[in-house]
Amino acid sequence: MEHRTPGQDSGRLHAGAGGGAAPRDMAVDAAPVDTGATAPSTPPSRPSSPGSGRSDRVATPPGDLPAAGRGTTPPEPAAEHPAQSAREEAEPVPGTPTDRLRYLEAATRRIAGGIDRDETLRELCRAAIPAFADAMLVHLRDPLPTGDRPPDGPLALRLHSIAQGPEDSVTGAPPGTADFVELTVTGPFAELLLAGRPVFGDAAEIAPAVGELLEPVASTPTTRSPGRWLIIAPLHGRHQLLGTVALLRGTDRPAFTGDDLLVASQLATHTAFGIDRAMLSGREASLADALQLTMLPSSLPAPTGVRLASRYLPAAETSQVGGDWYDAIPLPGNRVALVVGDVMGHSMTSAAIMGQLRTTVQTLAGLDLPPEEVLHHLDEQAQRLGSEHMATCLYAVYDPISQRLLVADAGHLPPVLLHPDGVGEVLRIPPGAPIGVGGVPFESVEMPAPTGATLLLYTDGLVESRTRDVWSGVELLRARLQAAASVVASPPLETLCDAVLTILGRGARDDDVALLAARFDGFPPRNVAYWFLNPEPQTAARARQLTRRALHRWGLDPLLDTTELLVSEVVTNAVRYASRPIALRLLRTDVLRCEVGDDSPQVPRMRRAQAGDEGGRGLFLVDRLAQRWGATRLSTGKVVWFEQPIPEECRAADP
């Protein structure tokens, strides 16, 4: 049989889903005569669960479909679907095959519309009671199978819900029942369930188990001898048995018929596939969550002159995985780039795009481009990634030496600056167009970054919610920061982050939240030395002399010999390629850092010098003698840097 299963996107029925064959055949065969009954009650199509509309194939002509969201349904030849008038979907299942089909069409559509497990079961309940049965018990397998392989251990069922009216809660077992409703199924009943075949209550295979199964509704008269007033249908998903549904009729109604068994089978099959799908999208969402988390910094750098703290909170609904990110990237001259961004939308794709944009920003930051240029190139790259992905991004560079902040914004919310005196300020940054719009220039603004101030970058999930618009959220954030600073002057960063997160309240978050806080520690100019030097044959000697003077001033005489040697090597290399003055920069922090910048983009690499070579040994020396070193290509050339630890005996002399 190659019939497409109603309610499913692409799957064929599992071979074991026996009992489904006949109703499927019946449904497909009957399609021409039973159509259009339920368009008014059609649940809105959800793009996230493609195929939920495929049950249209059974009974609904295209002409009756709401126009939106049905694009995936192939048009059917009109002759197969003569239009009929809509009927009430909840009417009791009448006896004629046409009526039964009409009922089934409505019921399966309902069930397929459920977006998660509980909602799918709730829809099953609404479809079944009272039209088809008077009570319903759902048992789910424990543990619920998640992959393609059956779970280890015996087949155990746990009562999930009982319903005796259409509006009953079907999300939980009644209080006190949970303990005795876990039952282990073995023998013929287990085989029957695993085969996926629904049976009447009087089937021999289930006799030993039926009492136990119906225990929670033991007071109902039917349950003592349910006979054909009970149908037990396995909830069999694509690959696995997921549970059972027991459908009971009161004794005042006719017993179930053979056709009813087929109806029950259809209901159970659709329900099981709905649960399957919900679990699948749940897995996808947790995969996306994991993807998102691996793309965020595993730890923040600890550059001198600034302290950093961050938070990331995923959205409460795992299906709402977001594209928020933050980053902190050390730049030459002890500056640091602070980044926050938000890829619009919530999906695995958002998380993946975020990862690509974050990497792009890191690369651009590494070139030491000014903020507006970083955003410009990021915008271009985003357009290459695809036109449908928009993001907001704020890029700031903190310079602890000049104590300035340079900021450019691509449609992101403005940062909040908590001044050293405890006043919170929402910074005024020209809001550029979001990343991905294209062709819109960005603008950097420069402002003082006083020592002791704290800059807070965040995403809209922090300030915006169902009950609060974004700007009152920003104002609340500013007030919360200010309040935190009024309790303790200059509160610790971690404390401040925690205080800020309290504005989220207790309810479920609709959106993910990223937060990056930077406390400006500044960097006294006396610990910096900076010169421009013409590239000439004697430049290395001059650089050595300047280095000697600076190290002497800093009481670092024990480092003189090594540092002079290394500076000489690096400067000699720079002079060879530079056409403009080179920059020699010495920075004394907890290490001694030397940076040599020149205008040649060629980044030196270590190579093994041949016996006769005069040069080529410089970087080997640097590599051997420095604690760390590196070479960074910049938009204006390159910087080669190395660091040496400051000996213990010199630390006391820290100026």
Binding site: I401, L406, P448, Y530, F532, L546
Partner: protein, 233 residues
């Protein structure tokens, strides 16, 4: 207050006789555009205040002081005027001179090129008891600096004082970004500068240096050299 001095003009203004220096005009235009932002970017001039204080302490009241490259007149011209000295300020930037006249009304300011101030030249401002040149000679090509040092020597009375500050660098008329504009700067390393000063027949009385970080991100921190000098003889 004499404002009747013929000023050196470039561009649209009537030209001086020394000929056109197109590079220099760009320097002046940059400072015209920078205006008050210069003082915002370089706010706390510890070394400069100390050097002017040295002049004040060494000069009798009423002494004539030339402030070469006076900028906005802040802080030096005002500091000297308030100490009772007679101050003449000179700057190539029209905008700077206008600001200086506004900020320090008791001093006299001229828009002139440093290189045109030679004694007995067209813009001879007379003799001075002291000359201050804070971060102004660095705006000249290095080839012109020895001649200007000589000229300063000749503008001073015998034994006159010269307070000079420069940024330590080994560059000659090197284009750098500066407060949203570009300017060209020259510099010496400390020993070379000292040698150039001594060759112009000055004695270096005092020397100091500071690392200074401007409050602007596009100007890197700089090594500032201050040399307090006296004219020999």
């Amino acid at each position: 207050m004499s404002e009747g001095f013929p000023e050196t003009g470039y561009g649209s203004e009537e030209s001086g006789t020394e000929g056109i220096r197109p590079d220099r005009e760009g320097q002046a235009e940059a400072f015209d555009a920078i205006g008050d932002r210069y003082d915002e970017a370089f706010p706390y001039k510890k070394g400069q205040l100390a050097a002017a204080e040295w002049l004040i302490g060494a000069l009798p009241a009423g002494s004539r002081v030339l402030d070469l490259g006076c900028g906005t007149g802040l802080p030096t011209a005002r500091q000297l005027v308030e100490a009772g000295l007679e101050v003449v300020g000179v700057d190539l930037s029209r905008g700077m001179v206008e600001l200086a006249r506004q900020y320090v009304p008791r001093a006299t300011f001229h828009r002139l090129d440093i290189a045109d101030l030679g004694a007995d030249g067209p813009h001879d401002l007379g003799r001075f008891d002291a000359v201050a040149a804070f971060f102004s000679l660095l705006m000249l090509p290095r080839g012109e600096i020895p001649g200007v040092l000589r000229m300063i020597h000749d503008l001073l009375v015998p034994g006159g004082l010269f307070a000079l500050s420069m940024v330590e660098a080994d560059v000659d008329y090197f284009t750098i970004p500066f407060l949203g504009n570009t300017i060209r700067v020259s510099g010496y390393l400390r020993d070379d500068l000292r040698q150039a000063i001594e060759e112009a027949d000055f004695e270096v009385v005092e020397e100091s240096s500071y690392t200074y970080a401007p409050e602007i991100s596009d100007v890197p921190p700089e090594e500032q050299l201050f040399l307090n000098c006296a004219r020999h003889g």
